[in-house]
C-alpha cells in the first residue's frame, strides 16, 4: 500500500478497544499512533517533509524545543468506583503538561507562547493559562518518554477545569489524523453521539520512544486518544445491547489505507464461555494482554483483512447481554475530594484516598494545586489514616503569591492496606478586585483536580519487555518492574463560591451621591448667593375693581 520514503520512516497504527462495564455502560477507547523516526530538535537539518505526522504539531515541537507534550480535553468525570480504571486518565476540563528540552533558557516565555499557539490549533481558550494557574511539580509528572535527566525546572503543568469540550475541539483534533475522518476507525467519530455520553475525553500525547527493541535510537510518537463512555439510559435506551451503530451511528467500512495496523479489541474476560453476552460477528482471533495489573482476554478484529467486512462491506459489532453480571472487582486505588464548611469566609478541603488492597500498603504521591484566592492555612494540614496521624515522608509546599502564583502542595503518603486516608486543610476566601470577576461570578470558581500518582501492586506479572506488536492500550505507560503498575487518579474539581459584590453598586452610589450633592449643596448655594425680595401677592378681582374705584375717588387703597 504505502511506499516507504527513504530517510525518515513513519508509520501509523489505529485501534479501538471496547470494554463493557458492569453498570451496563460501555467504554470505547480509540488510540491513533504515529511513530516517526526523526529528530525535531536537530540543528543541522530542519525537518520539512511531513507525511503522516501533522505539520502543525511538528513545527510547534521544533520551535519551542518541546521534549514531551500532553494535552487533554475532557467533559464529564470518570467514576472509578463504577467503571474501574481508564486506560488513559484525564481530569475534567483541559489539562496541559509539557517537558521542555534542557537547552531552553526562558521556560516561562516558551510556555506562554506555546499555550497561545495550542489555543489556536485546538480552538480552546488555552490562552487563559498564565502564571496564576501554572505550577512546576517537583516530583509528580515524570516524563513518560525516553530520557535520563529529569530536572523539574523544565516541567510546567496547568489545568483549566472550566474549559468546555465540544465539536469545535473535535474538528481540529480529527484533522490531525492521517486519514482525517474519512477512512478507518475515525469515521465513527461523530460529534452528535460522542458528546451525548457520560464521559468524553480526547487527548494528544507526544513523546520520544524507543525505535526498536534494542532501544539505541529515538523515534517520536504521537498518540491521539479518545475515551468515551456511553450511558445505558441516555444512549442505550435502557436495553443492555450495544452495537457500533447504536454507539456511533456508523459502521466500519474499511481500514485506513495509510495504517500498518488497524484493529478492534473487545474485552471478553468476563465472558469466557459466552454466558454473559453474545458477540457477533464471532471471530477466532483472541489475544491476551496484561493491562492495569490484570490479565484480560480480547477478541480481535483485524480490519486490514478484507473478509472482516463480509458481503455488505460493513462491520457492525453487536454485543447482546444474556445474563446479569456480578459485582465488579473494587479498584485498588480511589480518591475523592470535597469542600466542607459553611459561609463565604472560610472552608476546608478534604481529600480522601482509599486503598482497597487487602494486605499490601503502597505509597502515593498527592499533588494539589489551589488558586491563590483560596488562601490555605498550611498549619491546619492533617493527614490521618485509620483515625491515626500519618506523617508523609516527603512534603513540598510552595505558597501562593497573590495574583502571581497558585499554591502547590505535593506529599508522598504511605497508604496502609485496606484503609481510608484523609487529608484536610483549611482555607480562607479572598475578596477579588471587581475587574477580576468573571461575567458570571455567582456560578462559582473552579479549583483544579488533585492528582494522585501511585505504583499499585499488580495481581499478575506485568510485561517489562518492549515489543512492537504490543497493543497500544497496554503500552502507554512504560513498565519498569513486574510487580506493580503505575496509575494516576484524578479527583473531582471543586466549585467554591467567593464573596461576590453587587456589581450595580457603583451605579447606585453615583446616583445617590449626585442627588445628595445636588439637593444639599444646591440649596445651600442658593441660600448664600441669592437675594430675596418680598413679592406683593396679587389681589382677587373684586378687590382690584374696588381699588380702581378708590383711586378715582382719591381714597386710601385696600391691602
Amino acid at each position: 500500500c504505502c511506499q516507504r520514503h527513504p530517510g525518515s520512516v513513519d508509520q501509523f497504527q489505529e485501534e479501538l478497544v471496547i470494554r463493557p462495564l458492569h453498570s451496563g455502560d460501555i467504554y470505547a477507547s480509540f488510540q491513533f499512533r504515529t511513530l516517526w523516526d526523526t529528530d525535531f530538535l536537530q540543528e543541522r537539518q530542519k525537518v520539512s517533509h511531513y507525511r503522516l505526522f501533522p505539520k502543525s504539531l511538528g513545527q510547534v515541537l521544533s520551535k519551542f524545543s518541546v521534549r514531551e507534550l500532553h494535552i487533554s480535553f475532557t467533559q464529564g468525570f470518570w467514576r472509578t468506583m463504577q467503571w474501574g480504571q481508564p486506560f488513559i486518565p484525564s481530569p475534567p476540563g483541559a489539562e496541559l503538561w509539557v517537558w521542555f528540552h534542557d537547552t531552553v533558557s526562558d521556560v516561562d516565555g516558551n510556555w506562554k507562547e506555546l499555550t497561545n499557539v495550542l489555543s489556536g490549533i485546538f480552538c480552546a481558550s488555552l490562552n487563559f493559562i498564565d502564571l496564576t494557574n501554572t505550577v512546576q511539580p517537583s516530583a509528580s509528572f515524570k516524563p513518560l518518554g525516553l530520557g535520563n535527566a529529569t530536572d523539574h525546572r523544565f516541567l510546567r503543568y496547568a489545568t483549566l477545569p472550566r474549559e468546555i469540550v465540544c465539536t469545535e475541539n473535535l474538528t481540529p483534533w480529527k484533522k490531525l489524523l492521517p486519514c482525517g475522518s474519512k477512512a478507518g476507525l475515525s469515521v465513527l467519530l461523530k460529534s452528535e453521539k460522542l458528546f451525548h455520553s457520560s464521559f468524553h475525553s480526547q487527548a494528544v500525547h507526544i513523546r520520544p520512544v524507543c525505535q526498536d527493541e534494542q532501544c539505541t535510537s529515538k523515534a517520536w510518537e504521537l498518540r491521539q486518544t479518545l475515551n468515551v463512555v456511553f450511558d445505558l439510559y441516555t444512549s442505550g435506551q435502557g436495553k443492555k445491547e450495544w452495537s457500533l451503530f447504536k454507539m456511533f451511528s456508523r459502521t466500519l467500512t474499511e481500514a485506513c489505507p495509510l495504517a500498518t495496523s488497524s484493529k478492534v479489541y473487545v474485552d471478553i474476560t468476563d465472558n469466557p464461555e459466552g454466558e454473559l453476552f453474545e458477540l457477533s460477528p464471532a471471530t477466532p482471533l483472541l489475544s491476551q494482554a496484561v493491562v492495569l495489573g490484570d490479565r484480560r482476554t480480547y477478541s480481535v478484529f483485524d480490519l486490514t483483512r478484507a473478509e472482516m467486512f463480509g458481503q455488505l462491506r460493513s462491520l457492525n459489532l453487536l454485543l447482546r447481554w444474556k445474563g446479569d453480571s456480578g459485582d465488579m472487582l473494587r479498584p485498588l486505588l480511589h480518591a475523592e475530594r470535597y469542600v466542607a464548611g459553611f459561609g463565604l469566609q472560610t472552608g476546608e478541603i478534604h481529600t480522601v484516598i482509599y486503598n482497597n488492597h487487602p494486605y499490601r500498603a503502597f505509597p502515593v504521591l498527592l499533588m494539589d494545586s489551589v488558586p491563590w484566592y483560596l488562601q490555605l492555612y498550611i498549619h491546619t494540614l492533617t493527614v490521618t489514616s485509620k483515625s491515626r496521624d500519618n506523617k508523609p515522608s516527603y512534603i513540598h509546599y510552595q505558597p501562593a503569591k497573590d495574583r502571581h502564583r497558585p499554591h502547590l502542595l505535593e506529599m508522598l503518603i504511605q497508604l496502609p492496606p485496606h484503609s481510608m486516608t484523609e487529608v484536610t486543610v483549611q482555607f480562607e476566601r479572598a475578596l477579588l478586585k471587581w475587574t477580576e470577576y468573571t461575567p458570571d461570578p455567582n456560578h462559582g470558581f473552579y479549583v483544579g483536580s488533585s492528582v494522585v500518582s501511585a505504583l499499585v501492586p499488580s495481581m499478575v506479572a506485568m510485561n517489562t519487555n518492549f515489543t512492537q506488536d504490543q497493543p497500544l492500550f497496554s503500552s502507554f505507560v512504560p513498565v519498569k518492574e513486574e510487580s506493580s503498575y503505575f496509575v494516576r487518579v484524578y479527583t473531582e474539581p471543586l466549585l467554591v463560591n467567593l464573596p461576590t459584590p453587587d456589581f450595580s453598586m457603583p451605579y447606585n452610589v453615583i446616583c445617590l451621591t449626585c442627588t445628595v450633592v445636588a439637593v444639599g449643596y444646591g440649596s445651600f448655594y442658593n441660600l448664600l448667593t441669592r437675594t430675596f425680595q418680598v413679592d406683593e401677592p396679587s389681589l382677587p378681582l373684586a378687590k382690584r375693581l374696588a381699588n380702581l374705584i378708590r383711586r378715582i375717588r382719591g381714597v386710601p387703597l385696600l391691602a
Binding site: 513518560l144 535520563n148 529529569t150 532501544c215 535510537s217 508522598l412 500518582s453
Partner: protein, 387 residues
C-alpha cells in the same frame, strides 16, 4: 421606394440592436471586474451569555453556516461565541444548535471552528481583532488578516440599546467606539468594502455614527423599537432564533455561489409585516450603487479563475533528506524510560535551590529606618567604636 425605406429602416434597427447588445455585454463584463476585491473575510460575533440567550448563538451560527456554504473558508472567518450552547448541560440534544423548531436544521454542524469562545469574547478582544492590534503570540486563526482588497462582513447580535451593545452582561461597546474602530481600519487600509449587520434591539443606533467610506450597514430595528425573537421550541425550552436573522437565513438559503441577487434584495428581507420591527439600512458612505453590489461580494468568496493553456515546468522533486550522521557510529548504551514514581529518590530529594532575589522594598525600608534611628541617637562618630 418604400421597400428601400423599409430595408434601410430594418438595417438601422438591426444595427441599433447589435450596438445595444454589445453595450450590455461590455457592461456585464465590466461589472464582473468592477467589485475590486480579491478576498473575503467575515467576523461573526455573539455577545450574550447564559442558556436563555440560545437564540443569539443560533443567529450567529446560521450566518456562519451560510457564509461557509457560499465559499468563505474557516481560515477567513473569525467566529466569536460568548457561551457554549451546543454542549451546555441544559441542551437536550448535545452538540447541536437548532434554528427551526422541531429540530429541522442543525446550524452547529459537524465541522465548526470557534475562534473566540466563552470569556474571551470581550469588547477589548473584539476591537483588537478589528484593528489588528493583537499580542504577537496570537495564533493566525484568531487574527483578521485582511488587506486593502478585502471585503469584510461583520455580524453582531446580542442585547443592545440606544447607542450601545452589551457584551456578556458585564460591559458595553458604544456606537462611537465602533465608528472609531472602523476609521482605524480605513486608515490602515484593512478593508476594501465593509458590510455591517446588527440584530439587536434599537440596532439602527449602532450605525448612526459611522464616518468612514465604503461602509454599508443593516440593522434589524430602528431607534426606539425592539427586535423580537421568532419561535420557541418546546423540547429545548428557549426561543431558537430572532425574527430578523430567521428571515435572513431563509433568504440566504436561496442564494448560491453564482447567484446574481444584489443588496436591494437584502434590504427587503423581513419587512415590518413579518418582523414587527422596521429594519433599517445605511448606504450613504458606500461608493457603489447597492443595486450593483452582489450578495456574494460579502457573503461568498467568489474566486476569479484564470484558465491558461501554457505548459509550466515544475522544479525538480524534493531531495530526500540526508541520512543522519549519527547512524554511522553505533550508540552502545541503550536509552531507558524514566522511573515514574521513584520513591527513594523523592524522599531524599534535596530542597530546590531557590534563586536569590534582592530584598524586597519593605525589608529595605525597614532596615533603612533602623539605621537612621540608630545614627540619630548615637551619632556618626560612634561608628568607630563599632568597626
Amino acid at each position: 421606394m418604400s421597400h428601400d425605406f423599409l430595408q434601410m429602416h430594418l438595417k438601422a434597427v438591426i444595427s441599433c440592436l447589435l450596438i445595444f447588445l454589445y453595450k450590455v455585454h461590455t457592461t456585464k463584463a465590466g461589472q464582473f471586474f468592477s467589485s475590486g476585491h480579491t478576498n473575503n473575510w467575515a467576523v461573526l460575533v455573539c455577545t450574550s451569555r447564559f442558556w436563555f440567550n440560545y437564540r443569539h448563538v443560533a443567529n450567529t451560527l446560521s450566518v456562519y453556516r451560510s457564509v461557509k456554504r457560499l465559499g468563505i473558508p474557516d481560515s477567513h472567518i473569525v467566529l466569536m461565541l460568548a457561551d457554549d450552547m451546543a454542549c451546555n448541560y441544559r441542551n437536550p440534544k448535545p452538540a447541536t444548535v437548532f434554528s427551526h423548531k422541531n429540530m429541522e436544521l442543525n446550524v452547529y454542524g459537524d465541522d465548526v471552528e470557534v475562534d473566540y469562545r466563552g470569556y474571551e469574547v470581550t469588547v477589548e478582544n473584539f476591537l483588537r481583532v478589528l484593528t489588528g492590534r493583537l499580542p504577537p503570540s496570537t495564533p493566525r486563526s484568531k487574527r483578521l488578516l485582511s488587506d486593502d482588497r478585502s471585503n469584510i462582513l461583520i455580524y453582531l447580535t446580542g442585547h443592545g440599546g440606544n447607542g450601545f451593545l452589551k457584551f456578556q452582561d458585564s460591559e458595553e461597546i458604544s456606537n462611537m467606539e465602533l465608528a472609531d474602530a472602523f476609521e482605524q481600519m480605513w486608515q490602515k487600509r484593512r478593508y476594501n468594502e465593509l458590510l455591517f449587520i446588527i440584530d439587536t434591539c434599537q440596532g439602527a443606533s449602532m450605525y448612526e455614527r459611522f464616518y468612514s467610506p465604503n461602509l454599508m450597514a443593516l440593522a434589524s430595528s430602528q431607534v426606539g423599537e425592539d427586535s423580537l425573537s421568532h419561535q420557541p421550541d418546546l423540547a429545548i425550552g428557549v426561543h431558537l432564533m430572532d425574527k430578523y436573522t430567521f428571515y435572513l437565513l431563509e433568504f440566504l438559503e436561496e442564494v448560491h455561489p453564482a447567484s446574481q441577487a444584489n443588496m436591494n434584495d437584502l434590504f427587503k428581507v423581513c419587512p415590518q409585516s413579518q418582523c414587527v420591527s422596521t429594519p433599517g439600512h445605511r448606504t450613504d458612505l458606500f461608493q457603489r450603487d447597492p443595486g450593483s453590489v452582489l450578495i456574494t461580494d460579502f457573503f461568498g468568496s467568489v474566486r476569479k479563475v484564470e484558465i491558461t493553456k501554457d505548459t509550466i515546468n515544475l522544479t525538480s522533486p524534493v531531495e530526500p533528506p540526508i541520512q543522519r550522521s549519527g547512524s554511522g557510529d553505533i550508540q552502545i548504551e541503550s536509552l531507558t524510560y524514566v522511573d515514574q514514581l521513584p520513591v527513594a529518590e523523592i524522599i531524599h530529594q534535596k530542597p530546590k535551590q531557590k534563586d536569590w532575589h534582592p530584598p524586597d522594598g519593605f525589608i529595605l525600608g525597614l532596615w533603612t529606618l533602623i539605621l537612621l534611628v540608630f545614627f540619630q541617637t548615637y551619632g556618626i562618630k560612634h561608628l568607630k567604636h563599632i568597626f
